[in-house]
């Protein structure tokens, strides 16, 4: 009888533990929305999202420059990270010898493990001065942030794409070879298209990482709360907006920053949703 009680008690304990992640998501939603909604109400949702001016000193809060800033750096990161990432995944899955793979795979993992402040610091010391010299500008801005983020999303894109490419049955590749196509042509025309949905998932994950990245972007983006007029001009992302001003903000300013996080959170939820739709499709 005692053993039976213990079984039941532990079963309930396990179940409660499993419910924790549900609880965590609910709490995050609750606290963010409850603290962000007053700002939406006061400023007006549309004014807040479409306002071009961010002037906390005069209580003007529009986050359009930050929304565009996040979109721009994400697009820039994709331009750099996606082609290199997919090609590198092809290399790892289909071109490189086993021995080299045993070295490169941990290297890609290490790229994923480097802390974002270290990336930011490297960007500040190497990428920013290089851009400054090349274009005669401050160096911080969209280009620096895109390069930085492009490198940072590489490991995500590489490992997810590589898994997708490896999951394609060998018969595709062999069939193409048998029809007289070269190794390269077989990989790119037969294997890669079959791995498409997995690669799209990889890109979506990369988008999530780029949109959510904070510290590295702050250190190299310049952080001016304006829509940049060229790729060497400074900009500010949604994430940067929160970190830069949360430390001293009060009242409506503080609420507006939490509302910024709500907008960011909604973006991420949409990206997550896209990702799980893609995953379900690739599993089917």
């Amino acid at each position: 009888m005692k053993a039976k009680t213990r079984e039941t008690v532990m079963r309930i304990v396990f179940m409660l533990a499993a419910c924790l992640s549900i609880l965590a998501v609910l709490l995050i939603c609750l606290f963010l929305f409850a603290n962000g909604i007053p700002a939406f109400r006061e400023i007006g949702l549309w004014n807040f999202i479409s306002g071009k001016l961010w002037r906390p000193s005069t209580d003007v809060y529009g986050i359009l420059p930050m929304i565009l800033g996040s979109l721009y750096v994400t697009a820039g990161a994709l331009v750099i990270g996606v082609p290199i990432g997919i090609l590198m995944a092809v290399f790892l899955a289909r071109f490189c010898p086993e021995k080299l793979h045993a070295v490169l795979k941990p290297a890609v993992d290490l790229l994923a493990g480097i802390p974002s402040v270290v990336y930011g610091f490297f960007g500040l010391m190497v990428i920013v001065p290089a851009i400054r010299n090349a274009f005669g500008c401050s160096g911080t801005g969209l280009l620096a942030a895109s390069l930085m983020l492009g490198i940072m999303i590489l490991p995500t894109i590489i490992s997810v794409s590589e898994a997708a490419i490896r999951a394609v049955p060998d018969s595709y590749y062999e069939g193409s070879l048998a029809l007289g196509a070269s190794h390269e042509r077989s990989v790119f025309r037969a294997v890669l298209p079959a791995a498409r949905s997995g690669i799209v998932s990889a890109v979506i994950l990369g988008v999530g990482r780029a949109v959510g990245e904070t510290m590295a972007v702050i250190m190299v983006a310049g952080n001016q709360a304006v829509v940049p007029s060229s790729i060497i001009k400074g900009l500010r992302t949604l994430t940067a907006n929160i970190v830069l001003e949360m430390g001293y903000a009060a009242d409506l300013h503080r609420d507006a920053l939490i509302a910024t996080a709500v907008v960011l959170f909604v973006f991420i939820l949409i990206i997550n949703l896209l990702f799980s739709v893609m995953k379900r499709r690739s599993a089917a």
């Binding site: 053993a3 213990r6 079984e7 532990m10 396990f14 179940m15 533990a17 499993a18 419910c19 924790l20 992640s21 965590a24 998501v25 709490l27 995050i28 606290f31 963010l32 603290n35 082609p83 997919i86 090609l87 590198m88 290399f91 790892l92 071109f95 941990p106 290297a107 890609v108 993992d109 790229l111 493990g113 480097i114 802390p115 974002s116 402040v117 270290v118 610091f121 500040l124 010391m125 190497v126 490198i151 070269s182 190794h183 390269e184 042509r185 990989v187 959510g212 990245e213 904070t214 510290m215 250190m219 994430t239 929160i242 970190v243 939490i258 996080a261 960011l264 990206i271 997550n272 990702f275």
Partner: protein
């Protein structure tokens, strides 16, 4: 093979090799650059127990990092494992609860660290009144690493062959005993890989800690005091007007820790593969 097809093959092959070269160069550039600049900048007074504006000691931040990591693991690892045990050993496949847990765990994994930071600030620092403290930081991070622990533990438990469980039941052991004595021990290496992954995330985390653990550069007297971890320390150095030398030195220590963690995780992965 026609000339056009041959040209296409050569272009494709060149692109693939180029991408590999760029990736490796980027990684090598970051590591070599930080090592070359950072190692000469290291000095003994950067490892003194008290931080002052002159010595810019990173030891307090290093100790805070260890404390925050340990505390986060103590909270998240058992909960993550229990949660995985429920999903694998107890729940009916495809039940509503299971899909809700899966969906929310995936959601948690995708949330950016700054959102965690703000949430931790609102819940732990303000609402529960912990103030900026190592405890608030560790609680925030433990939610952040929970999905990692859950996923890796789940995979590890699932890879334990059913014959183990059947053997244990056959000998008359109950479910609980089977889980703790038979299944869990065989899943330890897989679970460890999740733990190491989590340690890496905690050590590298900045955005989730600035507004929860705060950025005081000393070792706090207890867990309710504020303290910065090593990553936050590097950010703070930049924020307070960069002392380049000290920043390089801090970055190199941070990088070496991450390299060590990754080496451990790679070694473990090889062992798991060998079986």
């Amino acid at each position: 093979m026609s000339g056009k097809a041959k040209a296409e093959s050569i272009v494709l092959r060149t692109l693939v090799y180029l991408a590999a070269a760029v990736t490796i160069t980027a990684l090598a550039a970051i590591i070599v650059y930080i090592l070359i600049k950072g190692i000469p900048a290291l000095s003994w007074d950067m490892f003194s127990l008290k931080y002052t504006a002159e010595n810019c000691s990173l030891l307090p931040a290093l100790i805070n990092t260890v404390v925050v990591t340990a505390l986060s693991l103590v909270i998240a690892v058992p909960l993550g494992i229990f949660s995985a045990i429920y999903l694998v050993e107890y729940a009916r496949r495809g039940s509503r609860l299971v899909s809700a847990v899966r969906l929310t765990a995936e959601t948690l994994a995708g949330i950016p660290s700054i959102v965690y930071g703000l949430f931790g600030y609102l819940l732990f620092v303000n609402f529960l009144g912990f103030g900026y403290s190592l405890l608030a930081g560790a609680l925030t991070l433990s939610i952040m690493i929970l999905p990692v622990i859950m996923r890796t533990s789940e995979e590890a438990l699932m890879s334990v062959p059913d014959s183990y469980r059947e053997g244990s039941f056959g000998l008359g052991a109950g479910k609980l005993r089977t889980v703790f004595r038979i299944v869990l021990p065989s899943a330890v290496p897989g679970i460890m890989s999740g733990v190491i992954l989590s340690i890496g995330r905690i050590v590298g985390e900045t955005a989730a800690l600035i507004f929860t653990a705060g950025s005081v550069a000393q070792i706090p007297r207890n867990l309710l005091g504020s303290g910065r971890t090593l990553s936050v320390h590097l950010y703070a150095l930049w924020n307070e007007g960069l002392d380049t030398e000290k920043s390089y030195a801090t970055a190199v220590v941070l990088l070496l820790i991450v390299v060590a963690i990754n080496a451990m995780s790679a070694k473990l992965a090889r062992e798991i593969q060998k079986g």
